[in-house]
Symmetry: C2
C-alpha cells in the first residue's frame, strides 16, 4: 500500500489540574512524537477546563479541521469526569451501557475483590457506536468514535490506550528531518536560512535558539520535508554556508 | 486596596517544535502556577503552529474571552518568527521601529562585539503603542499591547519577562486550596465527593487518581475556593467521610 496521504491531528488535554499548573502535561508531547513517527502531523493542542461546553466547542472545532482528534483526561468515575458526556453531546449520539465494557469492568473488580458499585458502573457508559480501546493497565476502556479518540489522563494508562488505538490509524506520508546544532546565534544565520528556503521549496526550516543559566548557548536548525532528497539537499546547502561563515556544527538527528 | 475581582488568562504557546514533540513545553506550566499565586485563573492554553493566520485567530478569540493573554515564542530574528507581525495584524495596529528597543539592542551588540546587522534590527520592530517588557537575560524585549503579553519562548528568558510583566498586572482574588492524598481509588470516594459539593457550594473539588509503573497508587483530592472558610469546612467534611470509610489520608498542601 502506498502511503501517499498527509494526515493531521489535534490533541485536547482536558483537566483543571493542568491549567492550574499543579500537573505538568506530558501526554501531548508523547502523542505528538508518536504521531510524527507514523506520518501524522499535530496541528494544534488545546488544554481546556473540565467543562462540558468548553469540551464540546473544542471537539467540534478541531474534529472538522483534522483527520484525527485525541483527547486525554476526564473519563473516570467522579463528578469532575465529564468527557464522555461532552463527546456524546458534541457528536449528537446517545450514551449507552456498553456490554463489553461492562463485562470487562465486572471481571476486573471481581478479580481484585472490590465491589462493582454504581459509581464504577458509570465507566461502562460509552457513546453509542463507539469502538472500545482497551488497555492492560487499568480496566476502564477508552474509545474511538468517528475521528475522535478518547483516552484516560494518567500517563501510563494513556500510553497503553495509544498503542491500542494504532489499529484504527492509517500511517501517513513520513516527514523526514535533519537537525544541525550550531555554535552561533540566530542573528548570524537568519539570512542564510532564508536563502536556503528560497532555493529548496518543499521544506520547512525551524530555528531554535537555546541558552540556559549555565550560559550554554547555540541554535538547533531543524530541516523537515516529506521529500528526503530535499532534506539532504538543504542540509548540504546549509553546511556549505556554515563553513563559509566559519560556524561549527554537529549533525544531531536524522530521520 | 481590596482585591475583589476574579481575573482570567489564556496562554498561547507558539511553535512547531512543541507540536512535533521535539520540545516539551514547560512555559505554560510556569505561567499557570505563577498566575494562580496572584489570583489569576488560566482558562485555556493553546499550542499552535508558527503560522500567521493561526496566531491571529487564537489571539482574537482568546483576548476577548479573558482579561489577559500571554504568548510565548516566535519573537526572534529568523524567518519562522512571525509572532510580532501576527499580533499587530490581529490588533489592527502598525509595526514600527521602537526607539527604546533599538537603543537597547544596539548597546547590547556593541557590548558583546557583534554587529547590529539588519536581521538583529528586526527585533526592534514592535507594534505601535506597545509597552516594552525588558529582560536581563537577553537584550531583545517582549512587549505588552492591550491585554496581550508577548514573551520569548526560551524558558529562562520567558521567566525574566514574566517577572517584568507583573508591574502591569493587578492581583485578583486569591484562590485557596487544600490537597488530601488518600490511599484509595476513585470508585470508593466518588459519592462522598459529590455529597460534599452538595453541602458546600462555592467550591471546586478535583479528583486526580495516579498510578505508575511501580504500582504506587492513590488519589489526590484538591479542594479549591475563593473563600477560605469553604475550603476548611469541606476539608473537615471530607476527613470525616474518609474516617467513616476507613481510608487513610495525608494533608499535602494548603494555601
Amino acid at each position: 500500500m502506498t502511503k501517499e496521504r498527509q494526515y493531521t491531528a489535534a490533541i485536547i488535554v482536558i483537566g483543571d489540574e493542568i491549567l492550574s499548573g499543579r500537573t505538568q502535561d506530558t501526554n501531548s508531547n508523547y502523542i505528538s512524537k508518536e504521531l510524527e513517527n507514523i506520518g501524522i502531523e499535530v496541528t494544534e493542542c488545546r488544554i481546556i477546563q473540565d467543562k462540558k461546553l468548553e469540551i464540546i466547542k473544542a471537539i467540534n472545532e478541531l474534529r472538522k479541521k483534522n483527520d484525527h482528534v485525541f483527547t486525554t483526561g476526564g473519563i473516570g468515575p467522579t463528578h469532575d469526569d465529564v468527557t464522555v458526556e461532552s463527546i456524546s453531546e458534541a457528536l449528537g449520539v446517545k450514551i449507552e451501557k456498553n456490554h463489553e465494557a461492562y463485562r470487562i469492568l465486572k471481571g476486573h473488580y471481581k478479580n481484585i475483590d472490590l465491589s462493582f458499585n454504581k459509581v464504577r458502573q458509570r465507566m461502562a457508559r460509552i457513546p453509542k457506536g463507539a469502538k472500545l480501546i482497551k488497555n492492560k493497565i487499568s480496566a476502564a476502556p477508552g474509545f474511538k468514535i468517528e475521528n475522535v479518540f478518547v483516552f484516560a489522563g494518567i500517563p501510563v494508562v494513556m500510553r497503553a490506550m495509544f498503542s491500542e488505538s494504532l489499529q484504527f490509524i492509517t500511517e501517513g506520508m513520513r516527514i523526514h528531518s535533519s537537525t544541525l546544532s550550531i555554535d552561533s546565534v540566530e542573528g548570524e544565520i537568519a539570512n542564510m536560512l532564508e536563502e536556503t528556503l528560497y532555493i529548496v521549496r518543499d521544506l520547512k526550516i525551524g530555528s531554535y535558539p537555546y541558552f540556559n543559566s549555565k550560559k550554554d548557548f547555540g541554535v538547533n536548525i531543524v530541516i523537515k520535508s516529506y521529500n528526503t532528497e530535499s532534506v539532504i539537499y538543504a542540509e548540504q546547502k546549509i553546511i556549505e554556508s556554515l563553513d563559509k561563515l566559519n560556524i561549527s556544527y554537529e549533525i544531531n538527528n536524522k530521520t
